[in-house]
């Protein structure tokens, strides 16, 4: 089991290729909102970019908040899977997420990262990575990690 981490956001150029890829390939939409990963500036483009995506909480507060079990924890490694047929568009999952990683589209349907990694090849600066869930990495890399010599 793998989880998706935006490990090297210091490199992000704000092209939104990841969001557009997720919308296109996972949510079958043309959008930069209807996506499991979304790019924000942290106070204008001169202050750098932030990826908003699921941090694979375990246990997941969004799943705990879901009244129907539509938002269910993955078998291992944190993160959730959404069963659309069970979703009543109540928005509780989005409200429960501590990092605003769940987007609600205009119909109230949640969009969340499913840790599939399909967006990763579209990042031109290698900001994104799938990592082994068994060896959980902090949601960053370059700023706080010193490589072994």
């Amino acid at each position: 089991m793998k989880v998706h981490r935006a490990l090297r956001m210091e490199r992000c150029i704000g092209c939104h290729s990841c969001s557009l890829a997720c919308a296109r390939l996972v949510y079958k939409s043309f959008s930069w909102n209807t996506a499991g990963i979304r790019i924000r500036s942290t106070g204008g483009v001169s202050s750098g970019f932030q990826a908003v995506l699921c941090l694979a909480c375990d246990p997941a507060p969004c799943a705990a908040a879901c009244p129907t079990g539509a938002m269910a924890p993955r078998k291992s490694g944190g993160g959730v899977l959404l069963k659309k047929s069970l979703c009543v568009q109540c928005g509780k999952c989005a409200a429960a997420c501590p990092v605003e990683a769940i987007n609600l589209d205009a119909g109230g349907n949640p969009n969340v990262c499913v840790h599939c990694g399909q967006c990763i090849p579209f990042c031109p600066h290698d900001c994104l990575e799938l990592v082994e869930a068994a060896a959980p990495a902090a949601p960053c890399l370059e700023s706080c990690h010193v490589a072994d010599k």
């Binding site: 106070g43 483009v45 990042c123 031109p124």
Partner: protein, 589 residues
């Protein structure tokens, strides 16, 4: 799902009357005839424009148009702004990226047309479910960066998916080359769109890309996207744009005696290595940024560390740089310290000035000072080549229209030269020159071409490869090359993508987007759009035969030797005749 336009042959256009504080959503036919972008802006000016009225007439439209491929494919990331230029009185276009194009797409519009004049200084906020005019009288006089920061709070929402188009003091004060700043690092730079916005009492336009649209139904879409994405990111095709960026041109141009120095009194200088693309990258480059929808990331952002107090207190300025701004306030002004180049650029940017025109106009002012045509009585600060502090102050003075001299200089170098003398050395080719002193082809092209821009044709590149003098061949090249570029600016592709979006790829893109008929007739549509632009430019007073190339351009030497004035004039006249024919009225049906 946002309200969408299911008929792909119609353009969904928001026409907002600032006087009446009301918008109208128009469905405008014409996709097959004009494509979008450049063609759509021309179509909308034909529909809403007042060719005979003054550029600042409240009835004039300020148009922002995207194209059929915007956001759907990589590098389809630009917006075309159409307006009547206060610089030359003609219908004009200026192009910019940032987030503007995708924000308009996801707000659900193919174009936005601003008409009228707001009663108080205002900001228009447009999203997929929001159209609102906000009173921002308290932003009067604010520079573009302060305006951007405050607007992020005033028009909150859609963070990361919002485009903020705004003007600075120069736009409010009617400088004929005031620009519209887009998302801090990009600009509708040339020919004065910012002043048109200022005349509408519109400080800013905030576009929120907060809607969702259906994915193209064609099953080939994800594969075609992936193929194009790989082509632009994996091959070396885009290398020059994301490595050193356009300042990579400096050393080759200088070696070819094609880099304008000190008001074009020279075309090469041993100090070029101090302001090369390499020097900027090594000393000042902080990071790259991209327009939304483009993985290339050609925006180069440099850092200026300004010590504002002797007790080691610093202010940090982040300044986007490119060859053109660097040239205009670097070699053209005799400034060879990269930090100073960025600091002058930063000051011009804050005012909301087109830094190319402002720098080149100041270069004229320095030479006019040297020749005794103007003095500190007019210029307030002593202007001398290499004096960066004086140029920073002068940028503020132009932006604030500080006196009669700067008011004239803010209308263009040639306007000031007409008042004070020195027209022979005003480096104006339709508008202040861009950073290519490559020779006769480029000088004739910029003088006559539609936007008077170095991007209208590949003339600057042609000059670097051709020594032979063949007027007919060159004119044919200019005419053919313009058409290919107009096709791209109708889609709207970044012109850096011109090696990727060749005709067969464009046809695949349009077919994939459900526009097979447009794909089949794309050449005719691009030609139609090109001619529509020229007709409008002529309907608003342009006579290409009346253009002139100032004497300075005949006094220089390039790698080909001294400029051949007679040949240059033959090219100008030849291209002018060709353009006249392109802009001839439509035959009666």
């Amino acid at each position: 799902m946002s309200p969408t336009n299911n008929d792909k042959t119609l353009f969904r256009v928001l026409v907002y009357d600032l006087s009446a504080r009301r918008g109208d959503i128009a469905l405008v036919p014409g996709r097959g005839e004009v494509i979008g972008g450049s063609g759509l802006a021309a179509l909308l000016y034909e529909k809403y424009g007042l060719p005979g009225a003054a550029p600042f007439d409240p009835g004039q439209p300020l148009i922002f148009a995207i194209g059929p491929a915007t956001g759907y494919f990589p590098l389809m990331s630009k917006t075309v702004c159409g307006f009547k230029s206060p610089y030359n009185g003609n219908y004009a276009e200026s192009h910019a990226g940032g987030r503007s194009a995708l924000a308009l797409r996801f707000a659900g519009f193919d174009a936005l047309v601003l008409t009228g004049r707001a009663e108080r200084l205002s900001t228009l906020v447009v999203g997929s479910r929001r159209i609102e005019l906000l009173d921002v009288h308290y932003l009067r006089g604010a520079d573009v960066f302060t305006t951007g920061k405050l607007l992020r709070k005033i028009a909150a929402g859609a963070s990361g998916h919002r485009s903020i188009l705004r003007i600075g003091p120069a736009g409010e004060n009617g400088s004929a080359y005031a620009c519209i700043n887009v998302d801090t690092y990009r600009h509708f730079g040339r020919l004065g769109a910012g002043a048109v916005m200022g005349a509408k009492n519109c400080k800013a336009l905030v576009v929120m890309g907060d809607g969702d649209l259906p994915l193209p139904e064609d099953k080939a879409y994800p594969k075609l996207f992936k193929d194009i994405h790989e082509k632009v990111t994996s091959s070396g095709m885009m290398e020059k744009y994301h490595d050193l960026g356009t300042p990579a041109n400096v050393l080759p141009l200088n070696a070819l005696k094609s880099l304008p120095w000190r008001n074009l009194s020279a075309t090469s200088d041993p100090e070029a290595d101090k302001i090369s693309g390499e020097a900027f990258a090594e000393k000042l480059l902080m990071h790259n940024a991209a327009c939304a929808g483009c993985p290339v990331g050609c925006i180069h952002v440099g850092m200026v560390r300004e010590m504002f107090s002797s007790s080691h207190r610093f202010a940090i300025h982040q300044v986007a740089y490119d060859h053109e701004p660097n040239f205009a306030v670097g070699p053209m002004l005799g400034v060879t310290d990269p930090s100073e180049v960025l600091a002058i650029n930063d000051m011009a940017d804050r005012q909301g000035l087109d830094v190319i025109s402002a720098g080149v106009a100041l270069a004229w002012a320095v030479e006019a000072t040297q020749k005794g045509l103007v003095s500190e009585k007019e210029t307030e600060v002593k202007l001398a080549f290499g004096d960066a502090a004086a140029f920073k102050r002068a940028m503020w003075l132009i932006g604030h229209k500080a006196n009669d001299f700067y008011a004239a200089l803010g209308q263009g170098a040639l306007v000031a030269a007409k008042a004070y003398g020195g027209e022979d050395f005003a480096c104006v080719l339709g508008q202040e020159m861009a950073g290519y002193a490559t020779g006769e082809t480029y000088f004739a092209s910029q003088t006559v071409s539609f936007r008077h821009s170095h991007l209208d044709t590949g003339a600057y590149s042609y000059d670097q490869k051709h020594k032979e003098k063949d007027v007919e061949k060159v004119v044919r090249f200019l005419v053919d090359d313009e058409r290919e570029r107009v096709l791209l600016t109708c889609l709207v592709a970044c012109l850096f993508a011109r090696e990727v979006y060749k005709p067969d790829v464009v046809a695949q893109v349009l077919t994939c987007l459900g526009l097979p008929e447009l794909a089949a007739g794309i050449d005719a549509a691009a030609e139609n759009a090109r001619r529509a632009r020229w007709r409008l430019k002529m309907a608003t007073g342009y006579d290409p035969r009346a253009t002139r190339i100032p004497k300075r351009f005949a006094e220089i030497e390039t790698w080909k030797g001294p400029v051949d004035a007679a040949y240059m004039e033959a090219l100008r006249a030849g291209y002018a005749e060709a353009v006249l024919s392109l802009g001839s009225p439509r035959p009666a049906v």
